[in-house]
């Protein structure tokens, strides 16, 4: 198990489960994790989502994830709240100046094709407002 500090993006899904617990507090206090929340929608007695970055050692991230799962919360480490549909995207580039982190970018200016880098996305949702083709949407 590596002691190296790493950052992992997690999307938590609360299927009408216990949400009164101060999850972030426990992740920080008990597992020594640094938390950066991008988006959240958690309402009592209802389903909800939380998208965050956790930074810490591999072991602590694993333990923290286990703690989250023990509360009945599902973790999706791949998908995010923001979905870019490649087929719906008309590759116009309208979104690019509005993406603050270059998650949506045009790496090759010869072909002018849009690339979405999910790792860079901070879910600011600017792209949803400006995309004329409805190619980006939010799970929330």
């Amino acid at each position: 198990m590596s002691d190296e500090i790493q950052t992992k993006k997690l999307m938590l899904y609360f299927p009408e489960c216990e949400t009164e617990k101060p999850i972030v507090y426990h992740l920080v206090k008990d597992y020594d994790l640094i938390i950066n929340i991008f988006r959240a929608r958690v309402t009592p007695e209802d389903e909800g989502y939380l998208v965050l970055d956790v930074t810490g050692t591999e072991e602590h991230i694993l333990q923290g994830s286990e703690y989250i799962r023990s509360l009945g919360i599902r973790i999706d480490g791949v998908n995010k709240g923001l979905i870019w549909d490649k087929d719906k995207c008309a590759q116009c580039g309208c979104c690019v100046p509005h993406c603050p982190t270059n998650a949506l970018s045009i790496p090759d200016r010869r072909t002018m094709e849009i690339v979405f880098n999910t790792e860079e996305c901070i879910e600011c949702l600017s792209c949803i407002k400006v995309c004329p083709f409805g190619a980006v949407s939010s799970l929330f």
């Binding site: 580039g93 309208c94 200016r109 004329p132 083709f133 409805g134």
Partner: protein, 394 residues
């Protein structure tokens, strides 16, 4: 000097040399103009972007009993029924009934005529609701049904204004964000919006309309359509730069084609927040290389195509005619432009990537003999300009 007939013979025998407007630039650099003009028969151009001033004519076929339709809605989008008993005209920018528009500013404009056209080409079902006052031979007064494009007798796209020869670059000098048809513009010129395929764009490769005229066969979203007229706002008397390429709006084309033969990828409804609905359409136009001069025109590069930067916060809506500056398509496509020392991020509405795909698809159709060239039956006007609306006091 080649004729279109000679080029068509080569196309039919599978021997035509066809390059895209992007490929031709390096080819001429390498071979020289004289040699390349002998070798190359056709250069394919293309564009994909919002083409407001679009719509379609639909013939529904007759219901039983028959109906003389006076009002009609397709997926709750009003279609004009004042054409004939069962002919409708659906406009691309028409909003869906009860859309709050900009009453809740900025409006989302999620669905309209352009989206109905997209659904039809994609083969999806749309709902028809029609009303009438009833006549002796057309007694039916109300009709509700669902149909797909295959159920229609005809579904014919018309773009009274397409392929704008060049277009404005929009900025916002005010201190508030604005929503325009060239996208969301941040205050203090933090970004700009543009719309043209630049060096691939049809009318920038034939700036004086030598080969593109009324009757020219075009690739319209995958179907073989044609130019039926000059487009609305056709305004060729304008400022021109290198090789006569206009540095402002200029010429336009009116196009038509059979929507039943179109490809869904190239007919897309557009929702522009705070502005409204439009339709993005893909167009490809072949340029026959009749002589060296025609070839030279097709070697135009992004760096040589200039566009005017206009303030959409004041000068554009107030029709002041002020131009803040000029920028090249090379700059626009690099992702940012510079104006008075300020860096402005650039985002397009026109898809260069789709334009490249269309130019390659048309290239393939010509190479394999499936797309033949046409001689225009009439030229497009070369001297004409737009005048503003006459407003008189009552």
């Amino acid at each position: 000097m080649k004729s279109i007939e000679q080029i068509n013979e080569k196309i039919s025998s599978g021997k035509a040399v066809v390059l895209t407007a992007e490929e031709i630039i390096d080819y001429v650099d390498e071979k020289g103009l004289e040699q390349a003009a002998k070798e190359v028969d056709v250069v394919t151009t293309a564009t994909f972007g919002p083409m407001c001033s679009s719509g379609c004519f639909i013939n529904l076929g007759h219901s039983k009993p028959k109906m003389r339709i006076t009002e009609a809605w397709l997926d709750d989008v009003s279609a004009y029924a004042g054409v004939a008993a069962v002919d409708l005209f659906l406009g691309a920018t028409q909003l869906q009934a009860n859309d709050p528009a900009n009453r809740d500013y900025p409006g989302d404009f999620r669905f309209g005529g352009g989206h109905v056209m997209e659904k039809l080409v994609a083969g999806e079902e749309v709902q028809l609701f029609a009303l009438s006052y009833g006549t002796d031979e057309y007694p039916l007064k109300e009709l509700r049904t669902t149909l797909t494009i295959n159920d229609l007798n005809q579904c014919i796209m018309v773009n009274p204004r397409n392929c704008y020869q060049n277009y404005n670059v929009a900025v916002n000098t005010s201190d508030k964000p604005i929503h325009t048809y060239l996208g969301y513009l941040k205050p203090h010129m933090k970004n700009c919006g543009y719309s043209s395929a630049g060096q691939l764009s049809p009318l920038l490769n034939d700036p004086f309309y030598r080969t593109i005229g009324v009757g020219t066969r075009v690739w319209l979203a995958g179907a073989q359509g044609h130019v039926y007229s000059e487009g609305t706002q056709h305004s060729p008397t304008c400022e021109r730069g290198l090789l006569g390429v206009p540095s402002e709006g200029a010429g336009t084309l009116a196009l038509t084609g059979d929507m039943k033969k179109m490809l869904p990828e190239f007919v897309r409804g557009v929702s522009l927040k705070g502005y409204g609905i439009s339709l993005s359409v893909g167009v490809g136009i072949p340029i026959p290389i009749l002589d060296e001069q025609m070839l030279l025109q097709t070697t135009i590069r992004d760096r040589d195509i200039m566009a005017q930067v206009i303030d959409y916060a004041s000068d554009y809506p107030q029709r002041n005619g002020r131009v803040l500056g000029s920028v090249s398509y090379e700059e626009l496509k690099s992702g940012s432009i510079s104006l008075d020392g300020q860096k402005i991020e650039a985002g397009g509405l026109s898809s260069y990537s789709k334009a490249r795909k269309i130019a390659a698809l048309l290239q393939d159709e010509i190479k394999t003999g499936r797309f033949l060239l046409t001689q225009p039956i009439a030229p497009l006007p070369v001297e004409q300009s737009m005048k503003p609306l006459k407003e008189s006091s009552l």
